[in-house]
């Protein structure tokens, strides 16, 4: 089955005429994703890699029955794009855009929540269900269809771990990059719930990093609600506390959210935590046997 994106996903790309939008639309099409429409205000009637462009999401949905959206618009316009997608009737919104003001992200979160829309991201690599659908910017070649579900706060680390898993002869049901910002649409728990219900997923990999308490909350949830085996990885063991690590999602706030605290919480929930991306893949392989 896979989660979030599958054979039935028909996607619109918001910001399709931009550089990133166009580049990744081509890659998604090549992968096999059903990109049925693009949206850029004022560019209705154009085509990008053969995909028809509309002025509004509402029109695109009316014409193509799209049910998912991938957003590539610049940060200043991203919240508006998310709102437009939601009010346009889209049920899965994947927001790739990085650098969105956090006060906008708060509104995006609540808008999606109130409308029962799955919002992935922002500042995320998207969703990849190998062999079915890919909504985002992941390097498709490294994935293989299989039964490992991956959920991750970090983009590149996700690729790394998926790549290692593929190299061991295994594959992924779905790979979800939930994004590294402090306020995101879907957190670990939201995705864990879906994997728990998903027939195709037999084992779950959770990739976290320092900052916040999302991993600790996930650990608690896993202990009580998840029956499938979970393997973890936490980046930032050696990050100096209080220093700013790249994006704001990785600030260590008030001593909480350290790698130690997260690893401990996961291990207490019977999650095997790998020390390197390679070790994570190896644990997955050993548990699947």
């Amino acid at each position: 089955m896979a989660i979030i994106a599958d054979e039935n996903t028909k996607a619109v790309v918001q910001g399709i005429t931009g550089y990133q939008g166009s580049f990744h639309t081509e890659r998604m099409l090549k992968f096999g994703t059903k990109i049925v429409a693009g949206v850029t205000p004022g560019k209705a009637g154009e085509k990008v890699h053969g995909v028809p462009v509309f002025n509004t999401v509402r029109e695109a949905v009316e014409e193509t029955k799209a049910n998912a959206s991938v957003i590539f618009v610049p940060p200043a316009f991203a919240a508006d794009a998310v709102f437009e997608a939601i009010e346009g009737g889209i049920k899965v919104v994947v927001c790739i855009t990085e650098g969105i003001p956090v006060h906008d992200e708060l509104k995006m979160y609540w808008k999606a929540k109130q409308n029962d829309v799955i919002l992935i991201g922002p500042n995320c690599p998207g969703v990849m269900s190998p062999g079915k659908s890919h909504l985002g910017i992941m390097p498709a070649d490294i994935f293989k269809q299989g039964n490992v579900g991956i959920v991750s706060r970090s983009g590149t680390l996700t690729y790394q771990i998926a790549y290692n898993i593929s190299n061991l002869g295994l594959g992924q049901s779905t790979v979800v990059g939930i994004g590294g910002d402090r306020i995101i649409g879907s957190d670990f728990i939201d995705i864990l719930k879906m994997y728990e219900k998903d027939d195709q997923t037999e084992i779950i990999v959770l990739v976290g990093e320092i900052g916040g308490t999302d991993e600790e909350n996930a650990a608690e949830f896993i202990a009580s609600e998840i029956s499938k085996p979970v393997v973890g990885y936490i980046a930032g063991i050696t990050a100096p506390p209080g220093k700013r690590m790249g994006h704001a999602g990785a600030i260590i706030e008030g001593g909480k959210g350290t790698a130690e605290s997260k690893i401990k919480a996961l291990e207490n929930a019977d999650v095997k935590v790998g020390k390197t991306p390679m070790e994570v893949a190896e644990i997955v392989k050993s548990l699947l046997k």
Partner: protein, 381 residues
């Protein structure tokens, strides 16, 4: 972006929160001049640095006006947690009868803005929270609905704010919240919020603005000063996420998670990273070149480990940037390079082509684990 105390107070004052009279001085002469014009016999000299714990580090002094200039000489040029004191805020000394606390910050877990208040202030709020949890009022505001008066009342009743200051503190919390929203803050706080015979004042002030919002927060964006070491300032001005660390292995990676994982691996192999450097997503060749340039100028670096897994970042673009850097910068350092993901083939081809003609000390590795091991080896860790 963190504002200095004096900048935060300027914003507070503009929006109706009372702050002590005072001004920023850059020299002892200026200190004397400012002190002269303030009321009372004594003044407060406050080092303007963007770290906590100034007081304990000796960065704040209460002195007679006549001795202010002399004392300021001790403070100017002091280092507090690695930051040089270059500005002093010279302020009137308030007649403090009571210290309280109010603050607000993002609530990641509840996707809102959490307001905190306490009838006890002046110490570390975390310490108060740990020792006297009953003295802290806490209230999460939904950002869509905004702050309503009843929430402020509940907060202040929970915090045990005395009746006689209730109305003043109520007004301050409402103003502080509108500052938080209007300036798109991540955090703002007043600690201590002090009671004096003439009213309630913000004796200190913090205001951190969301960097992602600076493009539309022109008023505070003008306050922007690059802080930290010279290399960190340069990195920030170029949009590179760079933090100087203790070790000798220069690290370049894409994505914060990957960068941290790379550092973690170096430690596991027994080495020490010289820095954290994240080129972000979709980096240009020029940014890659600038990153190499930056790291080579850190004298403690003995080897550079470039660890890229392409997604939105393209390996061919990274390779181009590296080639550009190697061609234009005189490189003595060995470089360990791992390229995988988007346009990996093309990236490796560009690098291999370059290596054929140029005998650089460049080691192309397959995995990041292998790369970390190689880097530690070459760095003599």
């Amino acid at each position: 972006m963190k504002l200095y105390e004096h900048q935060a107070k300027q914003v507070f004052s503009k929006h109706g929160i009372r702050v002590p009279q005072g001004k920023v001085a850059h020299s002892p002469a200026e200190v004397a001049e400012i002190a002269e014009k303030l009321p009372g016999d004594e003044v407060v000299l406050k080092s303007q640095v963007l770290v906590g714990g100034r007081g304990k580090a000796g960065g704040i002094a209460i002195v007679k006006k006549s001795e202010a200039a002399e004392k300021s000489k001790d403070l100017f040029g002091m280092e507090i947690k690695g930051l040089k004191v270059e500005k002093l805020l010279v302020e009137e000394k308030l007649d403090i009868q009571k210290e309280m606390y109010v603050g607000m910050t993002l609530d990641r877990e509840n996707k809102g803005i959490v307001l905190l208040a306490s009838s006890v202030g002046g110490m570390d709020i975390e310490e108060i929270a740990a020792k006297h949890p009953d003295k802290i009022g806490r209230k999460t505001v939904n950002p869509v609905w905004g702050l309503w008066d009843y929430q402020v009342r509940e907060l202040l009743y929970d915090a045990g704010i005395p009746k006689e200051y209730f109305r003043d503190v109520f007004g301050i919390v409402k103003r502080l919240y509108s500052i938080f929203v209007r300036y798109e803050a991540e955090l703002t706080e007043i600690n201590p919020l002090v009671v004096t015979p003439t009213g309630v004042y913000a004796a200190d002030g913090r205001l951190n603005i969301d960097d992602n919002a600076l493009y539309r927060q022109k008023e505070v964006a003008e306050f922007k000063e690059y802080a930290g070491s010279e290399l960190e300032k340069e990195a920030e001005s170029k949009g590179i996420n760079y933090v100087k660390l203790e070790g000798n292995i220069g690290v370049i990676a894409n994505g914060a998670g990957m960068s941290m994982a790379t550092m973690d691996l170096i430690y596991l192999e027994g080495g020490k990273p010289a820095n954290f450097l994240d080129i972000g997503g979709g980096a240009s060749a020029d940014l890659v070149k600038a990153s190499i340039d930056l790291i080579t100028r850190d004298p403690s670096v003995k080897v550079i480990f470039v660890n890229i897994f392409g997604g939105i970042t393209r390996c061919d673009v990274v390779a181009e940037g590296l080639v550009k850097a190697f061609s234009e910068i005189e490189m003595q350092l060995p470089v360990v390079l791992r390229l995988a993901g988007t346009n990996e083939e093309e990236g490796r081809r560009i690098i291999e082509e370059y290596m054929e003609k140029n005998p650089n000390k460049l080691v192309l590795v397959k995995t990041m684990e292998e790369g970390a091991k190689k880097a530690v080896e070459l760095g003599g860790g």
